[in-house]
């Protein structure tokens, strides 16, 4: 049994949580469930749906950029599309994806608990998420048309435009509430429901990452909440707080927006880093190198994340003093991120590396994220930022860190935990091909953006000079490769779900508690709460690896 000597009798021959008979049947057994695993699956379905929608929008945008001038849509449509792509990807996919899906499903199991601390609140979070998503969709077909402000809702344009900003902004506000409640739930769960022997420094690193993330969710999200409410009030009543014509300061809006939205970047990336810290030791057959530094650096990233929002405003007219301070502080973020990357690489060193599909995604992540991180330094430096700001360089950078960071790790988690979640195996060979395919598509799509950005192609522009066309064509072709890779990946997983062979309890030789329960886990996870006596990545007493082949 993993995790040292665990006083658990073999938890086999139990009915898994899909088939257990609850109070409700059929669809209601899902819609009224308070089981954290079912809620995780509900989130998975909705998050993937919104991802596919936003991805499709992205493909259309790339298609429009194939040639200068009008290719097949009007400029106003293009403005709406990039706004939608950003809003859906960020608020409905990236922020909830890893914490709400895999956090919900695996945090309680990894801690040796039967559920989260507040199961009903957990279900409420999902409903708020769905309501937020529904409002966002309704806002497309009502009012003055699809909003065209970009996902940042900058004033004064957002209080002037006749498009349907208020409802979309309200949708983001509701989604914020869903995030807050999830964060609150996780913090309390980690404090209260760790099983006996599970001290803070025996928690899996995924739990540490979620802990840091949850604090950001609780402490940063309310700021954007009130800012969005102010936009609505401004549009409805003209209170003047952000309206420059009557004394408001638009830069204060930008401050308020980024006070949340920069830490939110770490809401997106920290859980992904947590997953990486799970996958690497499993497939290196080795304890993680530098457990404590990785755990603490999660908190460090959360902390430093609060201090650097001003680097989004270098060219917007904030004072020189604060520009220098924010630029300096920005470089500090590289430290905790660097600690993580070096520790991961050190874990791989002399490990017995098994390059499976999840591991392939993780290696892809380290490569892509390093490029994203390093280009971030170019943007964090004041003088280069003035040249690169609001160009495709920025677009390239945040796709490398957001999609390359969070998105790729979402795929990795999906492959890593798929056998546990669904009790089925997928086709490993196809999964690996898809991973490489996605890697090629990704770099073909986003790398040219660095070059054209450096040459001066502005972001969010509908039209461009002919000299940029070569890069745009390469990027658009890249988008086709990437999307087809993603479709192959999802198709392979669906095939696995339909007719994959039954998954063993511990297919990868994982050492954390989720691999000690059956696949899929039984209702309430553990019949008897386990007791833990060693750290999370102790590979000395693994059983069940014989299931592997």
């Amino acid at each position: 049994m993993a995790n040292g000597t665990i006083a658990v009798p073999p938890q086999t021959a139990e009915i898994d949580f899909y088939n257990v008979r609850g109070r409700h049947k059929g669809i209601l057994s899902w819609l009224l469930t308070i089981d954290h695993k079912r809620i995780g699956i509900l989130y998975l379905g909705s998050v993937v749906f919104f991802f596919l929608v936003a991805m499709t929008i992205g493909v259309f945008m790339r298609l429009e950029m194939l040639s200068p001038g009008e290719t097949f849509m009007k400029p106003q449509t293009y403005n709406s599309l990039f706004t939608l792509h950003g809003v859906i990807m960020i608020f409905l996919f990236i922020i909830p994806a890893v914490p709400a899906v895999f956090g919900n499903f695996f945090l309680p199991i990894q801690l040796g608990a039967q559920d989260v601390q507040f199961p009903k609140l957990n279900l409420l979070s999902w409903y708020l998420y769905i309501i937020g998503g529904a409002l966002a969709i309704i806002s497309l077909f009502s009012g003055g048309g699809i909003m065209d402000t970009g996902w940042t809702f900058y004033v004064p344009y957002s209080i002037r435009t006749t498009t349907n900003v208020s409802l979309s902004v309200f949708a983001a506000f509701v989604l914020g509430f869903a995030t807050i409640l999830t964060g609150l739930n996780f913090i309390t769960t980690i404090h209260r429901l760790r099983c006996p022997g599970m001290t803070w420094f025996r928690m899996p690193l995924f739990a540490w990452a979620l802990y840091a993330t949850s604090w950001i969710q609780v402490l940063a999200t309310p700021v954007i909440g009130i800012t969005l409410v102010l936009i609505i009030l401004e549009r409805a009543f003209g209170i003047g707080v952000f309206d420059p014509t009557i004394g408001g300061d638009p830069l204060l809006y930008q401050h308020m927006f980024w006070i949340y939205s920069h830490p939110a970047v770490y809401i997106m990336i920290l859980p992904a880093m947590g997953v990486v810290s799970e996958i690497i030791p499993t497939f290196s057959k080795k304890a993680i190198f530098g457990y404590v530094p990785i755990a603490i650096s999660s908190l460090g990233i959360a902390l430093v994340g609060y201090l650097v929002w001003g680097h989004h405003m270098f060219s917007s007219g904030i004072s020189d003093t604060s520009r220098v301070i924010f630029s300096l502080l920005t470089f500090f973020v590289a430290l905790p991120s660097g600690i993580k990357v070096f520790n991961w690489v050190a874990t791989l060193y002399k490990g017995s590396i098994d390059v499976t599909a999840p591991m392939l995604y993780v290696l892809l992540f380290i490569f892509i994220f390093s490029i994203g991180g390093l280009t971030g330094l170019a943007l964090g430096a004041l003088n280069t930022d003035l040249h690169l700001t609001d160009t495709y360089f920025v677009v390239g950078h945040f796709h490398y860190v957001m999609f390359g960071g969070m998105g790729i790790i979402f795929f990795a988690s999906l492959h890593y935990w798929f056998p546990k979640m669904f009790g089925k195996m997928y086709n490993e060979k196809v999964a690996k091909v898809a991973a490489i395919w996605i890697g090629i598509g990704f770099n073909t799509l986003y790398f040219p953006m660095f070059i054209m950005g450096y040459l001066g192609m502005p972001r969010r522009y509908y039209d461009y000079l002919p000299e940029f066309q070569t890069y745009h064509i390469i990027a658009t072709v890249g988008s086709w490769i990437l999307v087809s890779g993603i479709l192959v990946m999802f198709f392979n997983l669906l095939q696995g779900l339909r007719k994959g062979r039954k998954a063993p309890d511990n297919p990868w030789g994982g050492t954390t508690l989720e691999w000690t329960v059956s696949s899929p886990p039984p209702m309430e996870n553990f019949k008897i709460i386990p007791e833990v006596t060693t750290g999370p990545y102790d590979h000395t007493h693994i059983h069940g690896q014989e299931d592997n082949k």
């Binding site: 404090h191 760790r194 599970m198 402490l219 929002w309 904030i318 604060s322």
Partner: protein
């Protein structure tokens, strides 16, 4: 104040389970009424002080009094004083976050206006 009312469960889950069921740890009626009288007096003071022209100090004084008042409410009415230290740490994290954000915003405002 009855010390035996202190709830000594410092944890977060990995060891002890006292504290699952809350204990009676509210001070008596009398203490709370005293705190209330203190709060009313501070309100009177802050209104009175506002009448005096303190110039640039006025805001500081008003905020200090408000801070003292809220400390009374937090420590006694919300009985943080008698609670587990994890709540004090939590509140500290929250207030430090707020302060940091405020200060960094003012690095811009002070040098822009």
């Amino acid at each position: 104040m009855e010390n035996n009312h202190l709830n000594g469960s410092d944890h977060g889950g990995h060891g002890h389970d006292d504290g699952h069921i809350a204990e009676a740890h509210h001070p008596s009626y009398g203490i709370n009424v005293l705190v209330w009288i203190g709060l009313l007096s501070l309100t009177a003071i802050t209104v009175a002080v506002a009448g005096i022209n303190l110039g640039s100090l006025a805001l500081t004084v008003a905020l200090m009094i408000a801070l003292v008042k809220s400390m009374f409410v937090i420590n006694f009415f919300m009985h943080l004083k008698f609670d587990n230290k994890v709540f004090k740490i939590f509140l500290g994290i929250c207030m430090v976050t707020f302060a940091v954000v405020m200060i960094l915003t003012f690095f811009d405002l002070t040098f822009r206006f």
